[in-house]
C-alpha cells in the first residue's frame, strides 16, 4: 500500500440561479409563490433604504458609528427567509436587514447606534440575539443554542452570520468543530464581502474558497452567488432542512461585496480602488432581482414606487419613535440596570453615589 489518495466525503459546489441580468436558471429556480418573492424584494429594499437613512443620521451627528450593509441584502434576506419564527438568528454586526426581517425594530437599531444600551433590547418571543461585535465569537453561541434545541428535541434551527474575516478567528474553528461533532441543527452563513476593514479576502486566508473550510470539520459546505437572492435562499433552505431533519450543520459562503465603508469611521479610499467597487455595481442584488420580478411580470415600476413610498414612511416613523424614546432614556442611572438579576451591595452603593452626584449637579 504505497502512497494513495484518500477519498474525502464532501465536494464543494458553487451555486448561482439568477445571473447579473436577472436571467434565471429554470432548473434551479425555487418553487415559491409570488408573495414570497415580493417579500424578499421588500426585505432587501427596506435594508437598503434604512442603511441610507442611517448613514444620513450618522453624518448629521445624530448617531454614532455603524456598519452599513449596502450590497449584501441578498445574502442576508435570502438566508433568513429560509427560517421559521421559532428558529433562532445569531447575527454579527452587519446583518441589519436580516435582523429587521426577523422582527428587530428599526428604532432599536437607531437607539443602539445613537449610544443607548436599550437599543439592544429584543422583544420577548423574538428569537434574535443582539449583535455581537467581537468578530467570530458568536458562532459558538449558535452552536450551543442548536445543541439546546436538539437536547430538548425541538425541531428548530439556529442560523449564524459572520464575515470572511471571521473565518480566521479561533472561535469560528471551534464552533464548526463542535457543531460537527455534536451534529447540531445550525447553519453557518458566511457573508464573504471581500473585505475585513482593509484586508482583502485574498490576504485573509490562502484557501481557494471559504466554503471548503467546512471540510475540516466533516461539515458540508457550499459557495453561492451572494448577490443572488434565489441562490442564497435555495442553499439556505437546503441547509435549514438538513438541520431540521437531524442531519446536522452546514456552511454557506455567500460571495458578495461591501459596497460602502466598513463603518462610518472608515475611509476605504486608503486601501481599495474605486474601480474594484464599480465592477460590483453591475452585480447589485436588488436591481438584478427587480429585473427578474419584472420579467416574470410580478411587478411594475409603478409598484416599486409604491413600495418605496411605503418604506420611506416606515423608516420616518421609526426615526420619530426612536427620538421619542431617547427622551425617556436620559437618566444615566439606567446604566445600573441589567447587570445581575439583583444589584449586589457595593454596586448599590455606587448607584447611590451617582444618584447623589446627579442630584448635586442639578441643584
Amino acid at each position: 500500500m504505497p502512497r494513495q489518495e484518500i477519498e474525502l466525503p464532501y465536494r464543494i459546489d458553487y451555486l448561482s440561479i439568477l445571473d447579473e441580468q436577472g436571467k434565471v436558471d429554470q432548473d434551479l429556480e425555487p418553487d415559491v409563490d409570488k408573495d414570497f418573492l415580493l417579500k424578499l424584494h421588500r426585505g432587501m429594499l427596506l435594508g437598503r433604504r434604512f442603511d441610507e437613512r442611517l448613514l444620513q443620521l450618522q453624518r448629521q451627528g445624530r448617531m454614532g458609528t455603524f456598519a452599513p450593509i449596502t450590497g449584501q441584502e441578498a445574502a442576508q434576506i435570502g438566508a433568513v427567509a429560509a427560517l421559521e419564527d421559532s428558529d433562532w438568528l445569531v447575527p454579527s454586526f452587519r446583518e441589519m436587514a436580516a435582523e429587521i426581517w426577523r422582527g428587530k425594530t428599526m428604532e432599536n437599531v437607531i437607539l443602539l447606534y445613537a449610544g443607548y444600551n436599550e437599543g439592544g433590547a429584543i422583544p420577548d418571543g423574538l428569537n434574535n440575539l443582539p449583535i455581537a461585535i467581537p468578530v467570530g465569537t458568536q458562532t459558538l453561541h449558535a452552536a450551543g443554542i442548536a445543541y439546546a434545541m436538539k437536547y430538548r428535541q425541538e425541531k428548530h434551527v439556529a442560523m449564524v452570520f459572520f464575515g470572511d474575516g471571521a473565518t480566521s478567528e479561533g472561535d469560528f474553528h471551534e464552533a464548526l468543530n463542535f457543531a460537527g461533532v455534536f451534529q447540531v441543527p445550525v447553519v453557518f452563513v458566511c457573508q464573504n464581502n471581500h473585505w475585513a476593514i482593509s484586508i482583502p479576502r485574498s490576504k485573509q486566508t490562502r484557501s481557494k474558497t471559504l466554503a471548503q473550510k467546512a471540510l475540516a470539520y466533516g461539515v458540508p459546505g457550499i459557495q453561492v452567488d451572494g448577490n443572488d437572492v434565489l441562490a442564497v435562499y435555495s442553499a439556505a433552505r437546503e441547509a435549514v432542512e438538513r438541520a431540521r431533519s437531524g442531519d446536522g450543520p452546514s456552511m454557506i459562503e455567500c460571495v458578495t461585496y461591501r459596497m460602502s465603508v466598513h463603518t462610518t469611521a472608515d475611509d476605504p479610499k486608503r486601501y481599495r480602488r474605486e474601480e474594484d467597487v464599480e465592477g460590483w455595481v453591475a452585480k447589485d442584488p436588488i436591481t438584478r432581482f427587480e429585473k427578474y420580478l419584472k420579467s416574470r411580470k410580478i411587478f411594475t415600476d409603478k409598484k416599486i414606487e409604491a413600495i418605496e413610498a411605503e418604506i420611506k414612511q416606515e423608516i420616518k416613523e421609526a426615526v420619530e419613535r426612536s427620538e421619542k424614546k431617547m427622551e425617556e432614556l436620559g437618566d444615566p442611572l439606567l446604566m445600573f440596570d441589567h447587570v445581575f438579576a439583583e444589584l449586589p451591595p457595593y454596586l448599590r452603593e455606587q448607584h447611590e453615589e451617582l444618584r447623589k452626584e446627579l442630584r448635586q449637579d442639578s441643584t
Binding site: G120, L140, H141, G144, F178
Partner: protein, 326 residues
Amino acid sequence: MAKMTMVQAINLALKQEMEKDDNVVVLGEDVGVDGGVFRVTEGLFEQFGENRVMDTPLAEAGIIGFSIGMALYGLKPVCEIQFSGFTYLGFHQLESHAARLRGRSAGRFTVPMVLRAPYGGGVRALEHHSESREAYFAHTPGLKMVIPSSPRNARALLVSAIRDPDPVVYFEPKALYRAFREEVPEDEETMELGRSRIAREGKDITLISYGAMLHETMQAASALHQKQGIEAEVIDLMTIAPLDDALFIESARKTGRVVVIHEAPRSFGPGAEVAVRLVEKSFLYLEAPIRRVTGFDLVIPLFQREKAYLPGVDRIVRAVRETLDF
C-alpha cells in the same frame, strides 16, 4: 449525613441538581466516560447519559461559548475547564459575552451558566496546573467569582451557583479535593452567593482568607491561640466577587487589625481590594497596617519550591505577630 471529601460533595451537588432539573447539563474535556481528571463528575455519565454529560472537543473557548449558547436557550450548563490555568483560552467568551448578554439585550437574555475549574497549588503538578488568578474574574463586571473552602460549603455554594440566573465562575481549591472529609447532609442545602462567613471567632485580629489558604489560616489561628492566647477572628470570603465587605468590616472594627491571606500573586490581587474596602469603610478603626500574606508576584514555581511560594502557617503567624506588635 455522610462524611464526604470535597470531590464527593461537588459530585453530589451536580448529581442532585441534575436529578431535579433537566436543564442542568455538564460538559467539558474528559468529564464524561472518564468522570473528570479529578473524578468530580464520576458516575454522572452513567446516570444521565451522553446528552447531559458531554465529553467535548479540546477547546476552551468552544466549551465556554457553547455553554453560553445553551444558557441563552434556557439550559443551565455547568462546564468544566480542566484546570483554571486554561480558562484564559476562553476568557474572551466570559468577558465579552457571558458577563454582558444580560446588559446587551437589556434584560431579555441571561446566561445562567457555571464555569467550574480546579485552581491553586499544592498537588505537585506541572506548569499551568497550579494558578490562582481569581482576580481576573473578580475584576470583570457581570461575573460572580466563588471559591469554597470545605466539602459542605462547596456543595451548598455549587447548588446556589447552578440556580443563580447569572454566570458564576466557581473555582475549586484542588488541594482540598481530598484533604479532609466533612459531614454533608443528603438533603438539599444551598448557600447564598455574595456572603462570607466567620470561620472562627476572635477579638484580637481579623484574618481574611478563602479556598485552600483558609486552612493554613485556621491552623495559624489555632497555633496563635495555643501558644500565645491570641484570639484571631477568621473570615472565609467564599464569594470573591461581588465581595461581601460587611462582615469583614464589622470584624475589623472590632479587632482593629487585619491580615489578608491568599495564594494569588500579591500585586493587583484580591487582597488589595479587601484592604482598600477596609480603608474606605473603617479607616478610623484600623490600628495597624493591613498585611497581605500571599503568593509572590511570580508565576507559581514547580512543586519543589511551591511550599516556599505559598502562604503557610509560619508566614501567617509571623504577619499576625508583626501586626499585633505594630
